[in-house]
Structures are given as structure tokens and as C-alpha cells.
């Protein structure tokens, strides 16, 4: 097998194996149809759902919009704050332990509070997802900024760099990879949080559909929405990767 073909063959093989086990478990009746829909039934339901007006499209749109808004808000606050706090030893000592301990809290307990204050619409979902997205990004950015080589900054100062020039030309390119990976972690968490919040309460989005189908004992429907949620995760990650390629060109100008 040549190396060009190894990866695609491995991927297809792995997915095929999982599907085969899934089929085996449901066809032989080892797992009851109520708990596990067969791949065939799931596929039929997917076809039905996608052919059925815009149920799928509007649910995906809602979840994407909520996750995206939460991600933008969290990034817009976390990255500048992380850079500012990371650049100063005093600010680092004050905020880093605080942020690390907050990030370990099960913030989902705040959801009832958020729902009561903001309402059970999109707003509370965005708020909770933004909280979950914020912590990995701010901690990652702060650490990366703290680790910037002071020698590189001193050299920039001798060449007359102003503070903003130092941030733009020395700090940004240094912290970029770490900030990007923390953003990817934050984005994943944000998507999970959005879906979970929709699941808890609300009337739209992928999480809501998962809730409706599972509570209605509509197992093929539930599995169809699980497949949709997985596809959504893949799409979100691909979009993020494409954005990073553009951003990289900007930072390493």
C-alpha cells in the first residue's frame, strides 16, 4: 500500500468497522431498537429530515449562530485581557490563580440563574457558552504572553519599538500558535455548551431537537440528530481551520 492511500483507506476502514459493529448490534437484537436505532433506520430518518423543508437547516443555523456569537464575545474579551494580564508580573500573580480555579467550576450550575435573568431564549445559551469559551482562551493567552522571550522584547526596544509595535511585531507572532489552540479548545467547549443548554430548555436548535426526539422515544430521530450534531462539529472545526490560515498570513506579515 503506498503512503498516499494509507490514510484514506484507514479512515474508511475505521468508519466502516464502527458502522458494521453498529449494524451487528441492532440487527441481531443484542441491543433493543428502542435504545439503538440501526444505521439503516438512522439513514432513512436523515433523508426524511433533510427532505422535510428546513427543520435541519434552521436548527443548525440557530446552534451555529449561538456558538459563533458566544465564541466572538469570549475571544474579544479573553485575548486582550490575557495579553494585558500576561505581560505584567503583578497582574499575572493577581489573576492567574483566580482564572484557573474559576475554570474548574461546573459553570453549568449558573444556567438557571442565566435563564432567569436573560430568559430561556438564545441569550442565556450564548452567555453560558461564552463563559465556557472564555476560560481556556484567557488562560492559554495569559500563559503564552508570560512566556514571551524578554530578550526579543529588549531587542525591539533598542530598535525603538513603541509598546504597540512590540505587541504587534513581537508578542502577537510569539503567542499566536498557543492562542489559536486555546481558541480551538474554547470553540469545542462552546459548541457542547450551546447544545447542552438548548437541551435543558428552549424551543430551537440542535440540542432542542435531541431533547425532543429522546423524550419522545423516537430513537431513529435521536440518532439522526446525533449524526447531525457530529457533522456540525466537523464543519465548525473546518471553518475554524480555514480562518486560522487567513489569520496566520496577517500575523506573520
Amino acid at each position: 500500500m503506498t503512503s498516499t492511500w494509507r490514510r484514506p483507506v484507514l479512515y474508511v476502514g475505521t468508519i466502516g468497522f464502527v458502522l458494521a459493529v453498529w449494524e451487528l448490534l441492532s440487527v441481531t437484537g443484542m441491543v433493543q431498537p428502542l435504545l439503538l436505532a440501526s444505521p439503516g433506520d438512522t439513514w432513512d430518518r436523515l433523508v426524511l429530515l433533510t427532505g422535510q423543508g428546513d427543520t435541519v437547516r434552521s436548527a443548525v443555523e440557530v446552534t451555529l449562530r449561538e456558538t459563533g456569537t458566544a465564541f466572538l464575545i469570549a475571544t474579544a474579551v479573553a485575548v486582550p485581557f490575557g495579553v494585558l494580564a500576561g505581560a505584567s508580573r503583578t497582574a499575572r500573580a493577581a489573576y492567574e490563580p483566580l482564572l484557573t480555579s474559576f475554570s474548574a467550576l461546573p459553570l453549568v450550575v449558573l444556567y438557571p440563574v442565566l435563564a432567569a435573568t436573560i430568559g430561556i431564549g438564545s441569550g442565556s445559551k450564548i452567555a453560558l457558552a461564552a463563559l465556557y469559551t472564555f476560560f481556556p482562551i484567557v488562560i492559554g493567552t495569559l500563559r503564552a504572553t508570560a512566556n514571551v522571550d524578554v530578550g526579543l522584547l529588549a531587542a525591539a526596544r533598542t530598535m525603538g519599538a513603541t509598546r504597540s509595535q512590540q505587541t504587534l511585531s513581537v508578542v502577537s507572532p510569539t503567542v499566536f500558535p498557543a492562542v489559536l489552540s486555546s481558541m480551538r479548545v474554547g470553540l469545542g467547549l462552546g459548541l457542547v455548551t450551546t447544545i447542552a443548554a438548548e437541551f435543558i430548555s428552549g424551543a430551537e436548535g440542535v440540542g432542542y431537537q435531541l431533547g425532543v426526539t429522546s423524550q419522545g422515544l423516537d430513537t431513529p430521530g435521536l440518532f439522526a440528530w446525533i449524526v447531525i450534531a457530529c457533522a456540525l462539529t466537523v464543519v465548525v472545526n473546518v471553518i475554524f481551520t480555514l480562518c486560522t490560515i487567513v489569520a496566520r498570513k496577517g500575523v506573520y506579515r
Binding site: 522571550d149 530578550g151 526579543l152 529588549a154 531587542a155 525591539a156 526596544r157 533598542t158 530598535m159 525603538g160 519599538a161 513603541t162 509595535q165 511585531s169 513581537v170 507572532p173 506573520y252
Partner: protein, 269 residues
């Protein structure tokens, strides 16, 4: 092109009063550690001055104060009569021991960054940076990244970056420390020729005595921390400096004298 500009600058400076940089009663400290105490010396225009002394004696700290990166606790550093008060990119360039090259920038763009901070336009900074690289013998590798270059080549990129701004004064902090003896010698010889041509004023921190003698007009010997001045030795060897000088009796007398002074400073503690 750069060479011509430098010669003009050099001729202007000969009309000026003798000292370019004055270090007056300077005391420097890191937290509670006193790194250098009551340093007083001058640097004359177009002079090559080396600082030598035991490891960790505060030579680099003194150099940072001369470059405006550190404010003295007491005393004052003045450039052409005015207190230095911070980095002066138009007057003073720095080459650091660890070179401080930006790993995500190619050689030419590492040189360019000095001009970018000075607000010079893209086309001009590209041209001047290529010329500066060519002047240090790196005309053929402008688009390589630092990790693709040898130690000696990285060294030259750092020197090109210090030269491109055309600042008349250069502060070099053990720039050849990481090089093997042969590269060290080659780059040193090339550097001395370039700086002689351009009439630069240079302060050079080093551990290597023959390097100090070969390159310098005067060598300032420092005591262990807190650094004070043990003695300033004048190197009365002719310029331009040629490698053959290193085989003359006078060269050996001078290196012997420096090593004797260094041994004395160590015995003093």
C-alpha cells in the same frame, strides 16, 4: 552605499568634542545585588572599546545602561552631553549575546524590522536590508529563516540588523560567545574591517583576550561584582588590523598584560 554614508558621518564626528558617550559615577543594581559601582569612563568617537572581566561581573549590565535599557541607581550616562534616558535607536544599535533574532522572520525581514520600527517605507527598508546583509557577506541567503542558518550566519544577520539603522554607535554583548574559534576569528576580522570603514563607535563585551586586543583601541578591565574599573589598557597596534598582527610580540605583550590584570582581580576577592 552604506559605506559612503558612514564615512560622511565619521568625518562629521571628528569635528565634535572628544567624548561621545560619558559614563559618570554609575552604580547599577539588580534587586538587592549591586552589579556595578562608581563606573566612570568615556567613549570617544570612532573608538573600539572592549569590556573584559570575570564572568558575571556586571559587564553586560553596564552595557545595558549605556544602551538606555537600564537606568542607573546613581550617576549618569550621557550621549553627546545629554542624559541617555532610554533606548536611542537612531544613535545606538545593540547586538545581544543570544542574538534575539525573530524566528518567524526570514534573514532579510529580521534586518528590516529595525527600519520598520523607525517607520521607513517597505521598498526602502527592503533595499537597505539587502545591502546590509550583503555587507556582512550574506547577500545570498536573505530568504532563509534563522533555524536554517549556521551559528556564524545568524551572528552576521544580527550584526547586519545593528548596522542597517546607520546608528553611529554599536554596543555588542559577547556576540561571538556561541561560535567556534575559527568562525569567531573570521567574523571578528570581517567585523573590524567593516567598522573601520564605516567609522563606527563600538563598545564590545567579551571573555576572549586575544579578540579584545585584536579588535580594540582600548580595553577596560573590570573587577568581580560589584564591577569597578581595574584598569584601562590602550592597544597601540596599527590600523587597519590584519591577522598577521596576532603573531607580533606586541600583541602577545598586550594579551599577557590583560590576563595578568584579570588574575589580579580574581585574587583580590
Amino acid at each position: 552605499m552604506i559605506v559612503v554614508d558612514r564615512n560622511e558621518t565619521a568625518s562629521v564626528h571628528t569635528d565634535e568634542p572628544p567624548a561621545r558617550l560619558n559614563v559618570r559615577d554609575v552604580t547599577l543594581s539588580y534587586g538587592s545585588t549591586v552589579a556595578a559601582k562608581d563606573l566612570t569612563f568615556d567613549i570617544r568617537p570612532a573608538e573600539f572599546l572592549s569590556l573584559i572581566g570575570p564572568s558575571g561581573c556586571g559587564k553586560s549590565t553596564a552595557l545595558r545602561a549605556m544602551g538606555g535599557l537600564l537606568t542607573p541607581d546613581r550617576g549618569e550616562v550621557t550621549l553627546d552631553g545629554t542624559p541617555i534616558g532610554g533606548p536611542r535607536p537612531g544613535d545606538i544599535s545593540f547586538v545581544f549575546q543570544d542574538l534575539a533574532l525573530y524566528p518567524w522572520r526570514t534573514a532579510v525581514r529580521n534586518v528590516e524590522i529595525a527600519l520598520q520600527f523607525a517607520g521607513i517605507g517597505r521598498a526602502e527598508r527592503r533595499d537597505r536590508s539587502r545591502a546590509a546583509l550583503a555587507a556582512v557577506g550574506l547577500g545570498d541567503v536573505p530568504d532563509k529563516f534563522p533555524h536554517e542558518l549556521s551559528g556564524g550566519m545568524k551572528q552576521r544577520v544580527a550584526i547586519a540588523r545593528a548596522l542597517v539603522s546607520e546608528a553611529p554607535m554599536l554596543l555588542l554583548d559577547e556576540p561571538f560567545a556561541a561560535l567556534d574559534e575559527l568562525s569567531r576569528f573570521r567574523i571578528g576580522e570581517q567585523l573590524v574591517r567593516l567598522l573601520e570603514e564605516q567609522g563606527k563607535t563600538v563598545v564590545f563585551v567579551t571573555h576572549n583576550l586575544s579578540e579584545a586586543v585584536f579588535l580594540s583601541d582600548r580595553v577596560l578591565v573590570m573587577t568581580p561584582r560589584p564591577a569597578t574599573i581595574k584598569e584601562i589598557v590602550t592597544v597601540d597596534l596599527e590600523r587597519p588590523r590584519r591577522p598577521e598582527l596576532m603573531r607580533t610580540p606586541r600583541f602577545h605583550e598586550l594579551t599577557d598584560r590583560l590576563s595578568a590584570l584579570l588574575l589580579e582581580t580574581e585574587g583580590g576577592t
